[in-house]
Symmetry: C2
């Protein structure tokens, strides 16, 4: 930084400012908003902001200030003196200031506020005289010493608290309010002496020394360990730096006509268009925070609602309240969003200390966005941009009542949102049986596998001791819309005794537990819940989103129930129908196992013939629900051994139930066992080696189409998807076979099936060879779960063991199975899009991995030019909103 | 094909030809070489070739010949008539012809030869008169009917054989030679009658009908099922087509001054510069093949060597032999390679029927290449190009004596070359124990795992029932230079009873078996072997190769013994030293397990302190052997559970042996178990989560360096390689830690360690992000085993189950774990090379996967611009030769 020509200090106050709201990078959020309020002519105590560039220069230059900074600060200070009519260090009319840090983003670890800076023995005496309130002056003085010693000088806070406690004990004082001006003067002397003892030099009495000390402390805190850790975690560049705000003090504690308060311009909890805030008469801001006194309501309406005995500000200070209300209205109009505001009243005069966009709950965010659009304050597209899609999730599931008491048993990952409550059960079959008896259960497992699907579906919610955000339990639960806590490591499941231990807790089968899938908590007993409301505001915002988006939104749905939910949540088709889930049904698994155990093709064909009518019925039901909407049906994907029992006990059960030989079952399971099933004999590899499986599935699809068309007259649109393709040749071979089945069905049914054939792009090689593959594909669907696994060489079932370390070390910014890795996986997708489209212009492109429901990943899909995203039915609204935001973002 | 302006028929003979050797694509190999010999003025029976383009046009045009072909054939036939003075179909002077197919590559399934075409009752009579040998004429006639009926008309061969047998039986004839001219004439009548019965029309007597029938049969055979299958398997495009050669007959069976023979211009078995061939007096070519008469030696030297009683051609026909010898010399000089030749002598006149480059054994190929270079016939670089690197492998290992009898027990994959013999043993520990007693063993396992390493090393060879070319057994065996047959599916191992079954064979522990790693055979008993000779010719050719190559060749070596072998086989460094193999040693595994079971960092550090001196000693030994040569040492890679026992029995043993708790062992093993270990907690992920492991390894390397430097004065060059990197951040973090250890060791040892830090590129993401990663890497080594696994999403341990189907369906041209997939994996490598070098110009690039020893993959490495390849020590010469060939190929 050359620095010579750069302005380093920006003044504000008195109806003007050198900065403005747009200068957050240079002045920090707080400084920029103070300048903006000053420009608006609002009553802002005058002050100045030292820019973030000074911080950067400070570190670039071995912790030395750039030349000329002192002069600029002095000039700005002179302006403050002029505006206030007071002088810094002048006992006759002492100017006191506050010093605060303020970066672009608020950041823990940064230096907090120093108030009342400029006080020493002389100015304190002057303040006492001027305010005609010596007690106020010496109380302020002792607060300053305490705060400055702690924050700037690094002395132990307890040192001063001990002195004060001792002083009060010796005089039998219970409350600070009992101390007189003389008491505080005595305490000040004790404080100064103690500080001098600790420092080995006197407590600084020169106001300018105090000021530069505080400025230096702000800059030093930028490199504190806590700040560095926070920056690394949140990816805030060190080069951003922090600004320093120096501002004339105003006092809410100068008697009964003084006050201090905080307020939101709308209710941050419900979004109601009503002021929401609290204030305290004759107090400083820290008193509100400290909680020693109970704050009063800002408005009468709020007071009534809360049942407060103390009067509201609206009633107690009607003139000031009216002025404040007009400021609120002005700020909301100006910033076009709900504001979070701090103010102080000094002897009947209102001062604005801060404004910023207010945080809010999901419900409030929705209501505020829709209301503001209705009020004409923002456009409908802006309203769409205002809703955080991640927050939207809260509105789609029952949530725990925040105010209800909780007894935490264990914590895990928030794997699938929503709250659920029921008896703990440790076996999937038992869960199903209990639910049939009308009981509500939570299925608790070490981990789940495809054979638990029935029990998972029956259960209200699922808890697993092992597994990450994309473990089997998590993926299936999200797909089903069941709340799920996965990887609750403290839980030790004891299947034999039907109980689990977690710390000191023992939960036996039948004990009621509640789980919160949004926070990952497992709780004892039944905790009160709040049902979601998908009413008018929600529907209105979603309709605006639907109008704004370019990409279609589909859902991953394996069953008629899923398809129904998908349609209700606004999905425009099915992006992934996993046919293997249909194989696990009790009625079918026997035939599936018979097929696997068959010695030859004839045996397999015979077993598959038993499955055909059942599979056809599934497709019929789904086609009936989805009507004309496109359904992408993926042919069998998992390795065959997933359908066989493994534990000896299970083998015996299956043998008894099916009449198959236990020995043959065991031998075949051993033969099919794989070192790395994820990379094994699955997907289209099964289709290549056992042509009869895919042929049966294709036949079931085509026959179901014909049946539904005959029944309803609607033409179901089937997109047949081949999984795990690595080479164009695989797809070429399988497409020929599917076309042959279509011809055969057409000949028998007397009508052409309407279908297309495409492939998952879920292997790096498929992405690279997309040009070849597109010659045989009508569509690509990016299977980003597997694509992430193979691109990273990372099994999502096994990543849990080191994922936390990787996030902690900053190797992963986010779990790559949750949020798509744009640099690696993303490049493969971009390559595949480019090469696929170059080979076939009409190629339809979508995504069906878990990322299809993640807002940041959906943004990437828009950027990459995909035609649609597909996600679990319950996330369809999130996807619709995210797709809309991505489109708006790119429309400039 | 427009075809109008295209020449479709090429004549040859009489000292001229319209074609030449360079026109193989158009005329096929046989036709092109016949033309070339005619051009050289050699005595070639005149004839003509119908081009391969006619075949293509034939199929493009719905099996119709292009217009004008008949006229061109007639014109060419007229030239043959002119040259021979005979006329096709003229009883007074009948021209007979042979018709043969001949493509670019010789191909099974194509139509074989038809001889004596042009014969009918009239021309046969004419031939009898002209040759004054009616027996010859009618014998030729019946041979023609038989051959034409079989090959062109598709009649059953047995039909004619039965007739002949019956005829002979009825007359009490034992041998064909007992039949007179009249007998053959009678047989001809019987043959014609039988053919007419079968055909429902007379046997074709018009020579032109015969000719077009034969031409059509050649073209038809191009689309025979056998030909199509062969083309698919060998990737021969259908569009190549086949040519048809029509040539005037010459007869080796016209009495004692006639003969027929085949010869090589050098010994195809040893490479000796001496003619090698056989001939028969008064015979046609088919008689040599039929084996009814024993052929005689071509030369006196050969006759003496063979101990033949019959005279050699050199003695029996000295003038013809001299003429033949001069033709041999001429052809070898002309083609500049050893030739495989067919000739016929008709009544004292020599005719050349074929010449082509002769197939030869590896030993012969080596000797011929080196000799020809010494003779000045070819350059040294040409000699290098003449040796097939795949064949070279045969020279580096003992091989089975081809002439020894074999009893095949089972067949598997040729996983690691060489032959070995010993007692079958089914347990690795038992193998070690037996070898210590001085016994020789073959280790037979269902599959092997890292804990079998000791037994594998002790054994002479390894057999597994499961696993592909890159299964654990195969990779380790190749690395150790142990012969190995993997995936011998017929073998059923019964560990309990210590035996295996394969078909009808039962092999018990202690039974001697022999394995042939070059062919994948498992044989009963001891089979005689031939030791490799790496003498003068080998060394000379390798020195020429070394002079020609650009890339360095290193070896993958984990132990001092490997390092020694690597140096002896000409490796210029170690490209991959896998440190985990050092962990399995009996003395260390206990400490390794203690480390894994440790509850915290301190416990791990204490256990690692026990391993440090042992690991340091390993590195010292390797550095001592490799001297100044670079050694790339890969830090710990496999997941920790690989070091724990899994079977309950093993756990008890380990618990007893180490004093560790069996319960703790089981619990930890269960905790560490992974769904997909290949994609799990391994490689640098271990380094990130357990920093102390890599720190110990780095310390062992640096301390070993210091010790060897102090001892020998040589500076060992250590290249520390971090495995499984997916992000630049991983490498950055680990490099910082390694540098810190180096500083610490330097401070204590008083000298700077000389080292560089680099990474494996073995994940698609690493290849894509090579630019970022190169900022922290001194070198990249492409780990193409894992890169192939992740790019294809294909586990090499599990691929065996469908690999055969994939090769059969033409989805894989070659096993991608054997020969690098240039299109997919290759693109990632090219991207990584480009991006890595762009970020760091000095980046050193190599390959250390199994592909580093595969000639075609090495060719790719040259093309991609890598600096070196690394392969198992025993393959280093193959890599040196392949690298040289790749460089020569690219030098134009």
């Amino acid at each position: 930084m050359s620095g010579e020509a750069t302005k380093r200090v920006y003044a504000f106050g008195d109806g003007t400012a050198e900065g403005e709201a747009g200068m957050k990078a240079l002045l920090g959020g707080k400084g920029a908003n103070l300048a903006e309020m000053a420009r608006l002519g609002l009553p802002v105590p005058p002050g100045f902001t030292i820019t973030t560039e000074v911080c950067t220069a400070f570190y670039a230059n071995d912790r030395a200030y750039p030349e000329g900074l002192t002069e600029e600060v002095e000039a700005a200070l002179a302006k403050v003196e002029e505006a206030t009519g007071k002088r810094f260090g002048d006992p006759a009319s002492p100017l006191l200031v506050s010093v605060r840090s303020g970066g672009r983003a608020s950041m823990p670890g940064m230096m907090d506020t120093v108030l009342n800076l400029g006080l020493n023995d002389e100015t304190a005496a002057g303040l006492a005289a001027l305010s005609e309130d010596p007690r106020f002056a010496y109380d302020s003085y002792r607060r300053f010493i305490q705060m400055y010693s702690d924050v700037v000088l690094g002395l132990d806070h307890a040192l001063f608290e001990d002195i004060l406690e001792t002083y009060k004990e010796e005089r039998d004082f219970a409350l600070d309010t009992e101390l007189s001006a003389d008491d505080w003067r005595a305490v000040v002397e004790l404080f100064k002496a103690a500080a001098a003892r600790e420092l080995g030099r006197p407590f600084p009495s020169d106001p300018r020394e105090q000021l530069w000390g505080a400025i230096g402390a702000v800059f030093d805190s930028w490199m504190s360990e806590r700040a560095i850790v926070y920056r690394n975690l949140h990816d805030i560049p060190e080069s951003w730096g922090t600004a320093v705000n120096v501002q004339a003090m105003v006092f809410g504690n100068m008697g009964e006509t003084s006050a201090t308060g905080v307020a939101f311009t709308r209710d941050p909890s419900t979004g109601e268009n009503a002021y929401y805030g609290e204030f305290l008469i004759n107090a400083q801001g820290e008193d509100v925070v400290a909680g020693i006194r109970t704050p009063q309501s800002l408005t009468e309406a709020m007071r009534e609602k809360m049942g407060d005995p103390a009067p509201s500000m609206e009633a107690a200070m009607p003139a000031i309240f009216a002025e404040l209300a007009s400021v609120f209205a002005r700020l909301e109009r100006h910033y076009r969003d709900m504001q979070d505001i701090e103010f102080t009243v000094e002897r009947g005069k209102l001062w604005m200390l801060q404004t910023r966009t207010g945080k809010r709950t999901a419900a409030a965010a929705l209501k505020i966005a829709v209301d503001m659009a209705a009020e004409g304050l923002i456009s409908e597209r802006e309203a769409v941009m205002r809703m955080d899609p991640g927050q939207l999730d809260q509105l789609l599931h029952p949530t725990l009542d925040e105010s209800a008491p909780r007894t935490l048993v264990a914590s895990g990952l928030p794997a699938s949102p929503g709250a659920a409550c029921g008896e703990a059960v440790f076996d999937a079959a038992e869960a199903e049986a209990l639910v049939k008896q009308g009981r509500k259960v939570i299925l608790v497992r070490i981990e789940t596998s495809p054979k638990d699907i029935g029990g998972m579906h029956a259960a209200e919610g699922i808890v697993t001791a092992r597994g990450g955000m994309t473990s089997h339990a998590a993926v299936v639960a999200r797909g089903m819309g069941r709340p799920c806590v996965s990887g609750a490591g403290e839980i030790r499941v004891d299947y034999e005794n039907k109980l689990f231990r977690a710390g000191k807790h023992v939960v036996k089968q039948g004990d009621v537990i509640t789980i919160d899938g949004a926070s990952g908590q497992v709780l004892l007993g039944e905790v009160a819940m709040i049902k979601p409301k998908l009413g008018g505001d929600f529907a209105r915002l979603m309709s605006w989103a639907d109008a704004a988006r370019r990409m279609k939104v589909r859902a991953n749905a394996d069953t008629p129930a899923d398809a129904q939910t998908a349609k209700e949540f606004g999905a425009e088709g099915i992006g992934l129908c996993r046919t293997e889930h249909m194989f696990f049904d009790d009625a079918r698994i026997a035939a599936v196992r018979e097929m696997i155990l068959a010695e030859d093709r004839d045996g397999r064909v015979a077993a598959l013939a038993k499955i055909l009518p059942m599979q056809r019925a599934d497709f019929e039901a789904i086609f009936r629900i989805m009507e004309h909407r496109p359904c992408t049906i993926r042919l069998l994907d998992p390795p065959l051994h997933e359908f066989l029992p493994h534990a000896e006990e299970d083998v015996m059960d299956v043998a008894a139930a099916t009449g198959l030989s236990a020995e043959a079952l065991m031998a075949r399971a051993a033969e099919l066992a794989e070192a790395n099933p994820m990379l094994g004999h699955r997907g289209c590899r099964l289709g290549i080696t056992f042509p009869e499986i895919y042929e049966m599935q294709a036949r079931a699809i085509f026959e179901a189409q014909a049946a539904v068309r005959a029944e309803t007259g609607a033409q179901p649109a089937a997109e047949i998807m081949i999984p795990l393709v690595a080479t164009a040749k695989e797809l070429e071979i399988l497409k020929v076979r599917i076309d042959a089945v279509a011809k055969d069905v057409a000949a028998k049914a007397g009508a052409q099936p309407a279908y297309s054939v495409g492939t998952m792009i879920e292997l790096p090689r498929a992405a690279l060879r997309a040009g070849d593959i597109a010659r045989f594909a009508d569509f690509f669907s990016f299977g980003t779960n597997d694509l992430t696994q193979t691109t990273y060489g990372l099994s999502r079932d096994d990543a849990g063991k080191f994922l936390a370390d990787y996030l902690g070390a900053g190797i992963f910014e986010k779990d790559p199975f949750v949020s798509l890795d744009r640099d690696g996986v993303g490049e493969l997708i971009r390559l595949a899009v480019e090469r696929g489209r170059a080979a076939r212009e009409s190629l339809k492109l979508g995504i069906c991995g878990e990322h299809g429901g993640d807002p940041s990943s959906i943004d990437f899909c828009e950027e990459a030019g995909l035609d649609y995203v597909s996600c679990s039915p319950y996330r369809a609204p999130i996807a619709r909103l995210s797709a809309a935001q991505a489109a708006i973002r790119r429309s400039g």
